[in-house]
């Protein structure tokens, strides 16, 4: 796509917002999106929300060991997925991106396989849940180590530039990641090389329990871009259309050879940090209740209603359809069974050296 005009200015004081709380389109330009695409955004957001609820059930029923809830991030995540060229551009996600994975088109059975850590996981059950990846879709496998994927994202973007591949790297992370040294190292290198990388902070204002006020003295995350000589966009990430349009401009700007940038999508975290966390220890229920009043899904529903694109029947049917689809995929994943235990010794290297062969033999004999 050739970039027609610049719509967004970096370093805006107020977050960039295109749809207000009541669902009014408040931008100075026409969105120009066809009804089917507008409805697709809703479908993906709804699917992400239902997936989140389903993952919570899997935890409560003891079928999985860990989840990082993404409810409240749907607007940001669906905006990102819709803005990049899926299967062409590369995505370097973090662990609270299961909604984004779904919108990227990762097969549902793989998503549940990864969550269950069983043979339906293309990564062979090697990592904790919420750590998927897909070579086929250019989704770099999630690594737990916070911000450790930022320098690799910079490297991939540098490779794209050197090889003239016409691709863009999109790299997501939470607000806590911005305090890590590797965050600085990666963004700085990408900026120096003018590499096509879009770094995206899904800022939910909490790194587990630590509030953003204890994370940074900066007025927001986007302003940090200034120090690297790249644009920083401060965006209302509860607004899926703002997330989409800013991401699209950022991505196409990078693709056109104008280098890296930073996008901050301010979101809410409706759940705890993870299934291993109790957020009532550090976040008042009043605060959470107030946050829940700002639901990206509800705001977008209001917008669609005003466009004559939403009614309760359609939404209920959609909900039913998505729920069925997810349930079918979950059941299929549940049938996959445990991975072969001896696969534990595969993929350390391209071929097994003698010491891993010996260790594999030991386990093989134990299991015989």
């Amino acid at each position: 796509m050739v970039q027609e005009k610049i719509r967004f200015q970096p370093f805006s004081g107020e977050p960039i917002r295109l749809v207000d709380e009541q669902g009014h389109w408040i931008a100075s330009f026409e969105h120009g999106l066809p009804p089917e695409q507008l409805r697709r955004f809703y479908r993906d957001m709804l699917a992400a929300r239902i997936l989140d609820e389903k993952l919570v059930i899997l935890i409560r029923t003891g079928k999985t060991s860990f989840i990082a809830p993404h409810a409240g991030h749907e607007g940001a995540q669906i905006g990102i997925a819709q803005a990049l060229r899926r299967g062409h551009d590369w995505l370097f996600p973090y662990y609270r991106d299961m909604g984004l994975m779904l919108a990227m088109g990762l097969p549902l059975v793989e998503i549940f396989g990864q969550t269950l850590g069983n043979a339906a996981d293309p990564a062979k059950g090697r990592q904790m849940p919420s750590h998927p990846g897909s070579k086929k879709l250019n989704v770099f496998t999630v690594c737990s180590a916070i911000a450790s994927h930022i320098p690799p994202a910079a490297g991939a973007a540098i490779s794209m530039k050197l090889r003239g591949s016409g691709q863009v790297t999109v790299c997501t992370f939470g607000d806590g990641a911005t305090s890590e040294g590797d965050w600085h190292a990666g963004i700085n290198f990408a900026a120096v090389q003018e590499a096509p990388a879009v770094f995206v902070c899904e800022n939910n204002r909490y790194a587990i329990s630590v509030n953003i006020s204890k994370q940074t003295a900066s007025e927001n995350i986007a302003v940090k871009a200034h120090a690297y000589g790249i644009p920083g966009y401060h965006v209302d990430g509860l607004d899926v259309l703002a997330s989409y349009f800013v991401m699209q401009e950022a991505i196409e700007r990078a693709r056109a050879g104008h280098g890296a940038c930073l996008v901050e999508l301010v979101v809410n975290r409706f759940g705890a940090h993870s299934s291993a966390d109790d957020d009532s220890r550090y976040r008042s229920r009043e605060e959470l209740t107030a946050e829940r009043q700002h639901d990206p899904l509800v705001r977008y529903q209001r917008f669609l209603e005003k466009q004559g694109l939403w009614d309760a029947n359609w939404a209920n049917e959609l909900k039913l359809e998505i729920s069925k689809e997810l349930e079918a995929a979950l059941q299929e994943a549940l049938q996959a069974g445990e991975p072969n235990p001896l696969e534990m010794f595969d993929d350390v290297f391209a071929a097994r050296p003698w010491h891993l062969e010996e260790q594999r033999q030991l386990v093989a004999e134990e299991l015989r």
Partner: protein
């Protein structure tokens, strides 16, 4: 056949691999215009341009992390860490990303990259220009570790490392960069990773070493020959995975092992090799395997030479093994 120092062999290997495969690129601090602080990459930026010989910001995390992304996306990056002692700010990139990428993705993504680094003591470098951190890398599943000792091996192993599909830490004892010249073929040749070299055949005792102390080990072997002892000398060349077959084969013959390394003793490659020999050849050993190693102190400046295995220390330990 041309003669080369180790540093020339590195330059020659990089040059040949870059001209053979346009995916091969170099990145690191001062590798471009300056040609590296030891001049390993001298002239290569002029030849291949600033994109393929890339001066990076002063950040080991950026160098190693970017190498992971470059490799995952299809390049064959050769990263230079200016001194092995400075790899630590980038260690999360090596340990959490490079080493585990193939594993954590179930073989979907890989990081075929080489990380070159000058290593070891003997140049009056104090704590932070003298260490031998190979055990850290060997202890992390997913990394291969090469430590070279001759110009010939350096060229063949570096070329093999660049073509290897796994991340390879390639350690170059800096005190050997210009210590010796030897004949190195100017045509294409590879030395397999994981294969040791038998530097001298003998029957009385097996001396195993690698990297910098190969010099002292060979000197000690020479003195032993003068004293009527017939030592076998093995250069591991690769310490992860090390060549167990070669070492066990030799010790099965001699019944005696002395392992020499300048890295600290605790939890070291030397400990691993001697423990394995004890486990597997217990009833064939004529003496307990001994180790001569660096010490478990930070690397000292004033005692630079004393820290490393000396010929005397090697001979004394060999005598204990032989006289047991």
């Amino acid at each position: 056949m041309p003669t080369m120092t180790m540093i020339q062999a590195i330059n020659s290997a990089l040059d040949e691999e870059m001209s053979r495969d346009e995916r091969v690129m170099l990145l690191g601090e001062d590798v471009g215009k300056r040609g590296g602080v030891f001049l390993a990459t001298e002239g290569l930026q002029q030849k291949y341009g600033p994109d393929r010989v890339m001066d990076s910001p002063l950040s080991e995390a950026a160098i190693l992390g970017a190498a992971v992304g470059l490799a995952a996306h299809g390049m064959r990056p050769v990263a230079e860490i200016q001194f092995a002692d400075y790899v630590f700010p980038g260690i999360d990139q090596l340990f959490s990303q490079a080493a585990k990428l193939r594993y954590r993705s179930g073989g979907q993504f890989t990081a075929p990259m080489v990380v070159r680094m000058p290593t070891g003591g003997g140049v009056k470098g104090g704590h932070h220009h003298s260490q031998s951190p190979e055990a850290h890398f060997a202890h992390t599943g997913g990394l291969k570790v090469v430590v070279v000792s001759t110009p010939y091996d350096t060229k063949g192993l570096l070329k093999a490392a660049i073509r290897n599909d796994d991340p390879v830490v390639f350690m170059e004892p800096k005190r050997l960069y210009r210590a010796v010249k030897e004949e190195v073929p100017s045509d294409d040749f590879l030395i397999p990773i994981g294969k040791a070299a038998i530097r001298r055949e003998g029957n009385d005792i097996t001396l195993v070493s690698y990297g910098g102390p190969m010099i002292e080990t060979l000197k000690a072997a020479g003195e032993m020959v003068g004293a009527g002892v017939d030592p076998e000398v093995i250069d591991l060349r690769t310490v992860m995975p090390w060549d167990k077959e070669a070492v066990l084969g030799s010790v099965a013959k001699t019944g005696r092992l002395l392992m020499i390394s300048e890295a600290p003793r605790m939890a070291s490659i030397a400990s691993e090799v001697t423990a394995t020999v004890s486990e597997e050849l217990f009833d064939q050993l004529l003496a307990p395997p001994l180790r001569v190693t660096g010490f478990d102190t930070p690397y000292p400046l004033a005692q630079d030479k004393l820290y490393m295995p000396t010929v005397t220390r090697i001979l004394n330990a060999a005598k204990r093994v032989l006289d047991y």
